[in-house]
Symmetry: C2
Subunit: 333 residues, 2 copies
C-alpha cells in the first residue's frame, strides 16, 4: 500500500476526510453515457432506454480474491470492473454503468485509491466504451474489499439465459481458456518467498517470464462486445466463464435439461487448465447449428439430448472451479 507519509502525496484515508478522498477520486473515474443524475446526490439516475435493465454484483476480498504483493491498485480496479462487465455481457446486454463500494484500511493512501479509479477508467475505456462509474461508497474496514454492481442495456433484445440450449446446438467459447488459472498457479508456485508468502520481488520475475498468463489473471480482458453479438446472432444460452469450463458448461446443461459434449481437440494443449481453470471470464454460448459463430466465438462442442457434461462423448465428473468457502486457507499476504 506504499509508504505512509505526512505530505499530500502520502495522505491516508485515516487522515483525509471522506469528502476529500472522494474529491480526489471522482475526477479519475470513467463517465457513463447513461447518466441522467451522476455522483453526489443520495442516488444516481440512469437511462434504461428499453424499459428494462440488467444488474449483477460481485465482491473482491483481500485474501481469497487477491494478494497485494501481486496486484497493484490499477490491476484491482481493472479486474473489479472486468469481471462485472463480463456478467452483463453474458446476458446479451451492453454494459452502461457501474457503482463501486470500497472498504479499505485507514492506512490506505488516497493516492493508492486514485490508482484503483484509474483501473476502472482504463478497463471501461478498453472493454466497454461508454460505460462509467455513476456512484459509490467509501468505508473503512480491517479488510480491503471491493463490491461492484454493474448495469446493462438489452437494446430491445431478449436476455440470453443459461436455460435455452437445445440438442443439436453448437457450443462455443469466446476468450482464452485456462490462462487465468495458469497465471494463478504460476503466482502461487513462483511468486512466493521461501515460506510460501506472496512476494513482490518474486512476482516481478514471474510476471516478466509469463506476461500472458499473469496478465490474464490480474487484468482479465473479457470479450464484452461478443455478448451482445451472440444475442443478436440468436444464441440460445450463454454464461460468463468464471468457474472453469467444465463446471460452467455443466451449469448450462443442468439449467437447459440437456447434455453438453465438449471436444478436447478444440480445448488447446493444456486440457486440465482449459476444463477446470477458473476466472477466464470468457463467454460460453450455445448457437443453433445453422448460425455462423459471431465475433471471437469458436466451436468447442455440441449440445445433445441427455444430461450432464460429456467430454469426447464420455461422462466427465471432475468438479473443477473454485469454491471460496471450501478452499480459502485464510492467507492474506
Amino acid at each position: 500500500m506504499g509508504n505512509s507519509g505526512s505530505d499530500a502525496a502520502g495522505l491516508t484515508l485515516g487522515e483525509a476526510s471522506e469528502r476529500e478522498a472522494l474529491r480526489r477520486i471522482f475526477p479519475r473515474l470513467p463517465e457513463s453515457r447513461a447518466t441522467l443524475v451522476g455522483p453526489g446526490d443520495d442516488a444516481a439516475v440512469l437511462a434504461a432506454p428499453d424499459g428494462r435493465f440488467v444488474v449483477t454484483t460481485d465482491m473482491m476480498v483481500h485474501g481469497p480474491d487477491f494478494r497485494l504483493a501481486w496486484s497493484g491498485p490499477v490491476d484491482l480496479g481493472w479486474k473489479a470492473a472486468a469481471t462485472n462487465l463480463s456478467d452483463v455481457a453474458a446476458m446479451g446486454a451492453v454494459p452502461t454503468a457501474l457503482v463501486v463500494a470500497i472498504a479499505a484500511p485507514p492506512e490506505t493512501e488516497v493516492a493508492w485509491l486514485e490508482g484503483v479509479a484509474d483501473g476502472f477508467r482504463m478497463a471501461c475505456a478498453e472493454l466497454a466504451p461508454g460505460c462509467g462509474v455513476v456512484g459509490g461508497d467509501l468505508s473503512v474496514s480491517a479488510t480491503l474489499t471491493f463490491a461492484v454492481t454493474a448495469f446493462g442495456d438489452l437494446e430491445g433484445r431478449a436476455p440470453v439465459l443459461r436455460s435455452g440450449a437445445r440438442p443439436g446446438d453448437v457450443v462455443a467459447v469466446s476468450g482464452a481458456l485456462g490462462e487465468a488459472a495458469t497465471g494463478l498457479r504460476l503466482l502461487f508456485a513462483e511468486g512466493v518467498d521461501a515460506v510460501g508468502e506472496p512476494d513482490a520481488e518474486r512476482f516481478a520475475a514471474v510476471a516478466a517470464a509469463h506476461p500472458e498468463a499473469v496478465g490474464a489473471q490480474l487484468r482479465p480482458r473479457p470479450p464484452i462486445a461478443d455478448g451482445p453479438l451472440a444475442a443478436e446472432a440468436g444464441a440460445t444460452a450463454m454464461l460468463d466463464l468464471s468457474d472453469g469450463l467444465a463446471l460452467d458448461a455443466r451449469r448450462v446443461a443442468e439449467a437447459s435439461g440437456v447434455a453438453i459434449d465438449l471436444d478436447t481437440s478444440a480445448l488447446g494443449p493444456d486440457l486440465g487448465a482449459a476444463l477446470t481453470g477458473g476466472e477466464d471470464h470468457g463467454l460460453f454460448a450455445a448457437f443453433p447449428p445453422e448460425v455462423p459463430l459471431p465475433g471471437g466465438f469458436r466451436r468447442v462442442g455440441v449440445v445433445r439430448a441427455g444430461e450432464g457434461l460429456l467430454v469426447d462423448g464420455r461422462p466427465f465428473a471432475e468438479r473443477g472451479g473454485w469454491d471460496p468457502y471450501l478452499e480459502w486457507d485464510g492467507g492474506r499476504g
Copy 2:
C-alpha cells in the same frame, strides 16, 4: 455468530459449498415486483417502466458500522436494507429491488445468514412492499461486510435533488431526529463491559431500558413512502438524513446556493442529538411555502437567501456527523 457444531443446524460457510448456502438463503429473501429475470443467472433483469432507474450503494462493515454484541443477523439485514431504501426514497422514487453482496468469515453459520435474509425480508415487507432482493454475491472474508445496491422507479416524476431549494421554501423533516445517535451513545456508554468492549449481556439491559432509541439505531424505520409523496407534492430539494441534520442541511444549502435557517423550537428537547446525531435516515426536504406538507413531514425551518446553515437566525458552525475515516478507533468487538 452462534456456536459451531457438526449438525446441519450448525453448518458453517467453511463447511457448506456456496451453492448449498445460497440454496438455503434464497427462499427467505423478499421477491421484487420488478423482476423479469431473478437470481440464478449471470445477472438479473429488472423492469424500468419509465425508461430510467434510480441506483444507490452502501456498505456496512464490522467494526466501524456495527458490533456483533449489539446487532443480531435480523438487525443487520434490516438495517442494510433500510439505509439503502432511504437513499432511493430521498430521490422521490419508489424502491423496487436490491442486490446484496455479503462477505463473511468461514466460521459464520449458514443459519446466521438465514437470519440476515429474514431481516431483508422483514424490512422490505414493512418499509417498501413490492421491493425485493434480485441477486447477490456470497464471499469469504476476515471481516463481515455487507454491500447493498438499491433501485427505484421515479414513476414519471423528476428526481428530487439537493440543489433545488429556493429562498422562501419551508424546510421539513419526516422521521425522528437524533434518536439513532442517542441509541448509539447509550450502547457505547452502557452496552459495554468493564474494559469498554461491547457486551451482549449489558446490551440486553440497555435495549430493555431504552427500546425506542436502541431500536432506532439497530433497526431504523425510514419513512420510505414519504419520499415519493414529497416529490409529488413538489419538493424542491430532498435528502436522506444520514449524517445529522446540521451537516445534511448544510449540504442542501451548499448545493442549492442558499442559506437554511433551522428553528430550535421544532427540534425537540435534545437539541444536540437532533442537530448532530447521525444515522436517523429520515427525510429532509424543502417545499414551496404554499404546499401543504405531505405524509409525516413537519416544518423545522425556512430557506433564506445567503449561504450556509443558520439556527434561529444565527450562523451554526458545528460540524456534526460521523466521518468513518477520522473517527473509527479500530474496535470490532
